[in-house]
Symmetry: C2
Subunit: 126 residues, 2 copies
DNA sequence: TCAATATTTCAAAAAATATTGAATTATTCT
DNA sequence: AGAATAATTCAATATTTTTTGAAATATTGA
C-alpha cells in the first residue's frame, strides 16, 4: 500500500455518515445492502448518500454490484486490515523488543503486528 | 471504543500532513521526536505543524511530554489497533464462516480479527 | 536580566467538503 | 410505449478544515 491509498482510506472514514455506512456494511456481511436500504437505515438523503458512497468506493472500502435497478454495496474488510499494516510498517525504529512491548498494550491485536517483516513496498513507496 | 472516538481517529489520519507525522512517529518508536525535528523532516511550518499535532493529540494518536523548551511527541500504536477492532466488530452479520472467509483475504492480518468475541461496548455504544 | 530558541495561540484568508433540490439516466412493470 | 422506481449527476450554497503570518508564552543560556 502507498501513502495516497492509505490517505484515501482514512479520508473515506473521516465523516460520520461514511463511518456509519461502512459499519453498516461490515455488519451486513456478504449480502451487503442496496443504496435505498442504507439511506433509510441511516436517514440520509439518496443524493447525499450517493456522494458519500462515491468516496468509500474511490477508497476501495466498498464495492458495488448492479442488481436490476438497484445498486448493492458491500464492505471490503481486508483492505482495512492492510491499511493498518501500512501504518505500522517499519515501526519502533527497528527495535523488535520495543515493538513487542507496544503490542502488549493491545492484547487482541497482538498477533497482527508483524515482527519486522513489514511491508513489501518498492522504491516508489511514499 | 465508541463512534465519536473512532471518528476522531480517522479524521486525525485524513490529512497528508498528519498521516506523515504519525508515520514518522511510529517509525521513530520510543524516543519519538520533538516538534522542531518533525517540522524540519516534513518541511511544514511550525505553526501549521502545531495545528496538526493538536488534532493527533485530541484523537489520542500521539502523546506529548515537555522536555525543557522542547515538546517531545510519541505515537500511540495500540490505539490504532483498537480502532480497527471497533470497525470490524459485529461483522459479517454474525456468520463465523463468512468472517473466516473474509479474513483469508488478508493473510498477515488474519490473526487480528477476533472470531466473534468482538468489542465490549455497553448499551451506550454508537 | 536580556537575548535567543521552541512552540503555541490567534485572527484572517484560502481551500476543500458536505448538503440540498432539481434534473438526468437506467431499469422495471403494465 | 409510458408510468413508476432507484440511484446518480449537476450546480449552488453552506460548512468545515487548512494555511499563513504576527503575536504571545515559556525555557534556556549568556
Amino acid at each position: 500500500m502507498q501513502k495516497a491509498a492509505a490517505l484515501r482510506i482514512f479520508e473515506a472514514l473521516s465523516s460520520g455518515v461514511r463511518l456509519d455506512v461502512f459499519r453498516l456494511l461490515v455488519q451486513a456481511g456478504k449480502p451487503g445492502r442496496v443504496a435505498g436500504e442504507i439511506a433509510t437505515a441511516l436517514d440520509v438523503s439518496p443524493t447525499n448518500l450517493s456522494f458519500h458512497l462515491k468516496g468509500l468506493l474511490a477508497a476501495g472500502l466498498v464495492s458495488v454490484e448492479q442488481e436490476g435497478r438497484f445498486q448493492r454495496y458491500r464492505a471490503n474488510i481486508p483492505l482495512m486490515l492492510e491499511t493498518i499494516a501500512y501504518l505500522t510498517a517499519h515501526c519502533c525504529g527497528g527495535d523488535p523488543d520495543e515493538c513487542a512491548r507496544l503490542r502488549g498494550h493491545a492484547p487482541d491485536a497482538a498477533a497482527f503486528l508483524p515482527p519486522l517483516a513489514h511491508d513489501a513496498a518498492g522504491p516508489g513507496d511514499q
